[in-house]
Every structure is written in structure tokens, then in C-alpha cells.
């Protein structure tokens, strides 16, 4: 029982946790309601001084954490606050007791791109005396492991903007290989001037809205947040009577080997990742695709081509949407937030819209769920990510039998 066709343990999702710019960072239910409503959160920043820049739009989490963190540390402690809240929600939602029994069998994989870089900024300005702990990327997962007495594998990965997706895929493999019974995996990142200035210097930021797949798309908006999935072996989840959201049926990572910051224009690396993840899942097509969909000219065209390569017979029939049109690009968190999106789509038989998509682009000609959410039965969903260094990652979720 609980073995897949490769005689590895099946991995299921039993808990979800999220902090996003929607609804002041409230959890999964509020996020999902708002995302189906197509709510835009991209607006001028209140946390970064964008006055010297040509662009000002970010997707910021406003309100809820301002009081929780306190104004003195609102800037540099956001990342930790986001991952702590999303992690706690996922653990509570799953009902799993991480400290119980054989503590060696629970672990964490956290994906992040810049982690506590805001704390680093203070350190570099020599304003902080002991901020180096908060700056270290691995400090986030280490603190979570300490807080929850987790004694299994604890990894921090930084695979650029594919980090959240890879974190979930790697954690699933730990369970499949019998290295852990429970893994809490996901990603998190927070807005910082470092990130804003960096993406601005690359000319990647939009001046107003994020318009994935639109002919007039002008770039991405930086976002922030965190999301985690509680993953378990199917046998363990069934034994404790846990609610099972979905099965992690396939995962793959593949590199472009093409350019340090730009994607392969033909989408070959992403198509390779999709193909391998589908093969692992034993599927030829899926019912929904949560796109990376950053709203940059190159990404969206590349991603369209990759989907066509991977689904030569069905690409035009699969609904594809980008929630980055609403919540911006939260880099290390993005893949994990979009994994939650796939699972909620399966649970509620609804797929979120791509908002701000008004002018069709002949180079982006798939079904992007334009403007309004749609009711669709989703038995399988694919989440896609890509990033600097030619990183590509694909995760396939299926309905657990």
C-alpha cells in the first residue's frame, strides 16, 4: 500500500499555509476567495522608498504584520514573520504533530532567494550589531526547526525564482525515498530595496500593472509572502485519518544552460522539466496549469512555447493562469504559493483568472483564463517555475485515490 509505480512511497499533501499580499496576508481561505475574485494588490510601495526610481508598483502585504512585527523592525523582520505564519498554518491545517513519536522523521525544506537581505542591508550600513544571524538564508529554516523541535532533514535551497517549487519537489523525494515521513516544505521572500533595485536595474519591473501574456505586458511587480505544504507518505496520512488534499505525483528540475538571467527563448528547459514531471506522474496531459507568468516579454512567450512543446496535442485545451497578475512575483515564495493554487483549484473545481489581460498577443495564444475565474473539474494540475541561472521546475499534483 502507498507505493507508486516505481515502488517508491506515495507522497500526499495534508496541510496548506499561506501569507500573501491578498487580504493583508490572511491564510488560505481568504487568499483563495480573493484570488478567485481576481483582486489586484499591485500598488505603490509603502515599505520601500521608490521615489528615485522610475517604477513604484509592488505587491506588498499591508496591515496585518505591521503591528505584529512592530515599526522598528517592520522592514528587516518581514521574511521571518511571513515564513513563521505560513508554516504554522500548514502544520495546524494538517493536524500533524511534529514532535510526537520518532522525531527523526519530520523535516523542512525552505526555498528562498534573498531571505533576510533586508537585515543584510542594515548590516552593510553598519546599523546593526547582531543582524548577521537574521541575514543568513539558512537561519529561517533553522529557526523553524528549533521552534518545532524538528530533527529530520532541514534544508534551505536557493534555486532563484524556482526555489519554492523545488523545495516542495525535493521534500517529496525525501518522503518517497523513506528518509522522512513528514516534510513541511515551501518558500518565502520579502520586499527589500536590494531586490527592487536589482530587478529595476535589469529593466524587469512594470510601471503600473502586471499583464501576463498580454501584448502590452511591460514587466513584473515584486511581491512578497510565504507558503508551505505539509507533505506526508500516503500510508502515514491514511493511518492517522488525515484529510488528503492531493498527491505529489511528479516533479522535475531542468536547466536551460543558455543565459545567466534570461530564459531559453524556445522554452526547451522548461519543456524538459514538464516532460520529466509528467512521465513520473504517468500523465500525458493535465487539467490546469498554474503558469510562472511573470508578465515580462520573454518569460511569457517562452512559457507558452514550453507548454506547446510539452503538450503537443492538448496545449490549447488546458486552462493556464498566472496569479502573479494579482500578487506580483514573490520570487522564492512564488512556486509554493502557486502550488497552493493548484491544490485549491483541485479542491474547489475552480481555476483563478489571469487579470489585466486585455490585448491578445499572437505569440501567447493559449487559454489563459482571461479576466474571470472559471469552474473546471481539476483532477490534475501542473505548477511551473523558472528563474535566474536557467532554473526550471515543474510539479504535478493529482487527486489522491
Amino acid at each position: 500500500m502507498g507505493l507508486d509505480k516505481n515502488n517508491q512511497r506515495q507522497v500526499v499533501v495534508t496541510g496548506l499555509g499561506i501569507v500573501s499580499p491578498l487580504e493583508s496576508g490572511e491564510g488560505v481561505d481568504a487568499f483563495w476567495k480573493a484570488v478567485l475574485a481576481g483582486r489586484n494588490t499591485v500598488a505603490p510601495s509603502g515599505i520601500i522608498d521608490t521615489a528615485p526610481y522610475a517604477t513604484h508598483a509592488v505587491a506588498q502585504i499591508r496591515g496585518r504584520f505591521d503591528t505584529a512585527i512592530g515599526k522598528d523592525h517592520l522592514y528587516e523582520r518581514r521574511w521571518q514573520a511571513f515564513i513563521e505564519h505560513a508554516f504554522a498554518e500548514a502544520v495546524a491545517d494538517s493536524g500533524v504533530t511534529l514532535k510526537a513519536g520518532d522525531g527523526q522523521k519530520a523535516g523542512i525544506v525552505l526555498g528562498t532567494v534573498l531571505g533576510g537581505v533586508a537585515a543584510g542591508e542594515k548590516l552593510w550600513r553598519s546599523e546593526g550589531s547582531n543582524l548577521s544571524e537574521g541575514y543568513r538564508l539558512s537561519s529561517g529554516a533553522e529557526q523553524l526547526a528549533k521552534d518545532y523541535s524538528i530533527k529530520g532533514p532541514v534544508l534551505t535551497i536557493s534555486n532563484a525564482c524556482a526555489s519554492g517549487t523545488d523545495a516542495i519537489g525535493i521534500a517529496a523525494r525525501y518522503i518517497a525515498a523513506g528518509r522522512a515521513d513528514v516534510m513541511i516544505a515551501g518558500g518565502g521572500d520579502a520586499l527589500s530595496e536590494f531586490a527592487f533595485s536589482g530587478f529595476s536595474s535589469l529593466g524587469a519591473l512594470t510601471k503600473d500593472l502586471v499583464r501576463p501574456f498580454d501584448k502590452d505586458r511591460s514587466g513584473l511587480a515584486l511581491g512578497e509572502g510565504a507558503a508551505f505544504l505539509a507533505l506526508e507518505s500516503k500510508a502515514s496520512a491514511k493511518a492517522r485519518g488525515a484529510r488528503i488534499y492531493a498527491e505529489v505525483a511528479g516533479y522535475s528540475s531542468a536547466a536551460d544552460a543558455n543565459h545567466m538571467t534570461g530564459p531559453d527563448r524556445e522554452g526547451r528547459g522548461l519543456a524538459s522539466a514538464i516532460g520529466k514531471a509528467l512521465k513520473k506522474a504517468g500523465l500525458a496531459r493535465v487539467d490546469y496549469i498554474s503558469a510562472h507568468g511573470t508578465g515580462t516579454p520573454y518569460n511569457d512567450q517562452m512559457e507558452t512555447l514550453a507548454i506547446k512543446r510539452a503538450f503537443p496535442d492538448s496545449a490549447f485545451d488546458i486552462p493556464v493562469s498566472s496569479i502573479k497578475s494579482m500578487i506580483g512575483h514573490s520570487f522564492g515564495a512564488a512556486g509554493a504559493i502557486e502550488a497552493v493554487t493548484c491544490i485549491k483549484a483541485m479542491e474547489t473545481a475552480s481555476v483563478p483568472p489571469t487579470v489585466n489581460l486585455e490585448t491578445d498577443d499572437p505569440a501567447c495564444d493559449l487559454d489563459y483564463v482571461k479576466g474571470l475565474a472559471r469552474e473546471v473539474k481539476v483532477d490534475s494540475a501542473l505548477s511551473l517555475s523558472a528563474g535566474f541561472g536557467g532554473q526550471n521546475a515543474a510539479l504535478v499534483f493529482t487527486r489522491a485515490e
Binding site: P52, S138, F194, A257, S272
Partner: protein
């Protein structure tokens, strides 16, 4: 199925290239020098001219840690005899261990935008400061199109990267995996650790820090033979089938106390390799953790010859130091069938103990979070 190491490479304060590195290591000569301004001992990579060591000019402006990674990887790939111009890059993976990344580039980028505004923000400094920059550069330089991962953490993450790379090969996701860890010294790193009051290296008043990179190539061996998978290797342009060492076991674990982690991981690694502690001929450790590693070695492996950790000669090079140690241990394994000495002793002197081909080397390292990693290397 066995997992074998077919190539190693190193850039270190002890020398660039493993021959120079091993020669200095065997001599026991420290490269640490006092830096009075910082109040620490530093061991820097010297004589590193990237333009002479690496012909691909696309990376001439890359951060030092990325350049160290590229040069170490090129040496390892060359030793494995692989020709990436004819190989299917989709069947190759990269796992990189990183502790601080290109901190110098991060600081310079930050200084640029904070003093000059948007015009002072360099896109090159930004993209090369992200922590997966070495991984992306390795993929780009060598046409690697399989899984590429960057693991972040302290010294232990170097061993965790080896463990993860071995898993990718074992599961058949790749035919071979390049595992690299690289670090470049930066004054901000030193200042931050001094502020934290972390004294690194025992027996000296001043803490010690180093830099560099280590790289290994992991492939599948044939069951029972220890030879590498000939078909995949030849498809990769391999001109000869040679495994330097077998990676008999790789484990990481964490327990409530560091001693428990270290002991537990040694027991797990021995069990994974079907070995008893008496089968371990020599042992190398990370060289840190306030003697905890040595206590474990004394308790569990009292008869094993202790090799000199690289850290004692180059200071704390974090995850890069761990890969340097693994390269050194691999080379010691490779030297076992020679009549010469096989390494260095704790006193820095060359060992005269002879290790026969049936015996094994255990590598042990402790991490920041009471985490411990253990690898067992043996002759193929």
C-alpha cells in the same frame, strides 16, 4: 548499485589544482596569516588568474566564488575524462553548496544603489550576487541541463550536497552529478563572525578564515565491481573507465544534542555501507565543533588513523572547506595502493601507516544546528 567518484578538483589557499593542494596538505604547511586590521588569521587563494585558468570569457566578471567553482569543476571534469560537447547535458546534474555566496558583490551592489540611487545599481553585480549564481554558471559553462540545485548552510552543507548528488545518481535521475562548494573571503563575513563572538579554530587567540572551492564528479558504478557505468561514461566522452573512490555511504542527521547527532550519523553511515567501526582505517573530520567531532571519533573509531583536517591549515572555509576535505579524503583513498604514505597525521607529519585495499576512510562534519554529516569512502 555503487556510487563512485571519478574526478576531483580544488582551488584553495594550499594551491590551485589538486596536485598543488595535496602537496601542501601533505607537508602540513599552514597558509594562515595574521590580518591585524581585521583581528583574524586569513588564508587566501593566491596566484589565481582566472583568464589563464578558464578559457570561457563569459565569466571573466563573475564573482570570485563563482570563478573558484568553475576552475575546480573544470579540473574534476577533465579528470573524469568527460567531453561535454558530445554529452547529453540533460543526463547531468549540479548540486552546489553555498554558505555566504558572493557577499562582496552584494555589498558593492548595495553601496551602488544606496549612494548613487538607481543609476548606481549594477545589473551584473545583482545577478551575480544571487546565491545560485555559481550553479547557473556551472550549468552554462558545461552545458549541464539536468537538475541544478543550490543548498545553503554552514560547513555541513558541503557534505549534504554530496549526499544529495549521490541520491540523484542513485535514483537514475542523472548519469552523473557535479558537486561543488565555493566560498570567497570577504571582510564583512569576518566582521560578522567576530561580532557574533564565534572563535573558529582552537588553540589560537585569533579565529581563522579561508576560501576556495572543491568539486567532485559522482557516477554510478557497476554492482559488485566498483567500475563506473561504462556506457554512460563513454557516451560522455570518457576515454577510460576509472573510479577514484567509491562513495559507500552518505548520511546526514540531527538529534537533540550534537554528540547524539555525530554518533548517530556515524552508526547510520556504517550501517549503510555494511561496515563495522573496525573496518574504518582512517578518519577525517571537519575540524570544528569544539572537539565534539574528535570525541565521537575517539569513542567510536579509536583505532582509525586521524587525518589532518584541511581547516587546520586554511581556517574556516565553510562549505568549501568541507568539499576540500572530501577531495583530500578521496585522494588519500586513491593513494592507498601505493607504497607511499597516505596522508598526514594530527601532528602535521606524514603518516607511514599502510592501508590495504579493503579498508575505508570515514569523513565526519558537524553543522551549525547540531546537524552532522558522515561520508564513507573506499577503494572501488
Amino acid at each position: 548499485m555503487s556510487i563512485v567518484i571519478t574526478g576531483t578538483g580544488v582551488v584553495s589557499p594550499l594551491g590551485i589544482g589538486k596536485d598543488a593542494f595535496m602537496a601542501t596538505l601533505l607537508s602540513g604547511e599552514s597558509r594562515l596569516a595574521h590580518d591585524l586590521e581585521l583581528g583574524a588569521r586569513l588564508a587566501k587563494v593566491t596566484g589565481f588568474d582566472f583568464s589563464l585558468l578558464f578559457s570561457d570569457r563569459r565569466f571573466r566578471r563573475a564573482a570570485a566564488s563563482t570563478q573558484y567553482a568553475l576552475v575546480a569543476a573544470a579540473e574534476a571534469l577533465k579528470e573524469a575524462g568527460l567531453d561535454f560537447s558530445i554529452y547529453d547535458g540533460k543526463r547531468v546534474g549540479v548540486v552546489c553548496g553555498v554558505t555566504h555566496g558572493a557577499l562582496g558583490y552584494s555589498c558593492d551592489f548595495h553601496k551602488g544603489f544606496s549612494t548613487e540611487g538607481p543609476l548606481g545599481a549594477s545589473p551584473v553585480l545583482f545577478s551575480d550576487s544571487v546565491l545560485n549564481a555559481p550553479t547557473g554558471a556551472l550549468s552554462l559553462a558545461f552545458g549541464i541541463k539536468g537538475p541544478t540545485h543550490t543548498l545553503i548552510g554552514g560547513p555541513d552543507v558541503g557534505a549534504a550536497a554530496v549526499e544529495y548528488g549521490a541520491e540523484l545518481v542513485k535514483e537514475g535521475r542523472v548519469d552523473l552529478c557535479l558537486v561543488v562548494a565555493a566560498e570567497a573571503l570577504h571582510e564583512r563575513t569576518v566582521e560578522a563572525y567576530l561580532k557574533l563572538g564565534i572563535a573558529i579554530c582552537d588553540g589560537e587567540a585569533l579565529p581563522a578564515f579561508g576560501e576556495g572551492a572543491g568539486a567532485i564528479i559522482i557516477e554510478r558504478g557497476e554492482d559488485g565491481e566498483g567500475h563506473i557505468n561504462a556506457e554512460a561514461h563513454i557516451n560522455a566522452g570518457g576515454q577510460g573507465v576509472r573510479a577514484i573512490a567509491e562513495l559507500a555511504s552518505a548520511r546526514t542527521m540531527i538529534a537533540p544534542g550534537l554528540d547524539d547527532s555525530l554518533k548517530g550519523v556515524v552508526e547510520q553511515a556504517l550501517s549503510g555501507a555494511n561496515l563495522k567501526s573496525s573496518d574504518v582505517t582512517a578518519v577525517m573530520h571537519g575540524g570544528g565543533s569544539d572537539g565534539a567531532e574528535l570525541n565521537t571519533i575517539g569513542d567510536l573509531l579509536p583505532d582509525a588513523v586521524r587525518l589532518l583536517p584541511v581547516k587546520e591549515l586554511v581556517g574556516e572555509a565553510f562549505c568549501a572547506g568541507t568539499l576540500m576535505n572530501i577531495v583530500a579524503a578521496t585522494e588519500v583513498v586513491a593513494a592507498m595502493d601505493t607504497a607511499e604514505g597516505i596522508g598526514v597525521g594530527a601532528d602535521g607529519g606524514q603518516l607511514t601507516a599502510k592501508i590495504d585495499q579493503k579498508q575505508n576512510i570515514l569523513f565526519l562534519v558537524a553543522g551549525h544546528r547540531k546537524e552532522a554529516c558522515c561520508l564513507i569512502l573506499k577503494r572501488p
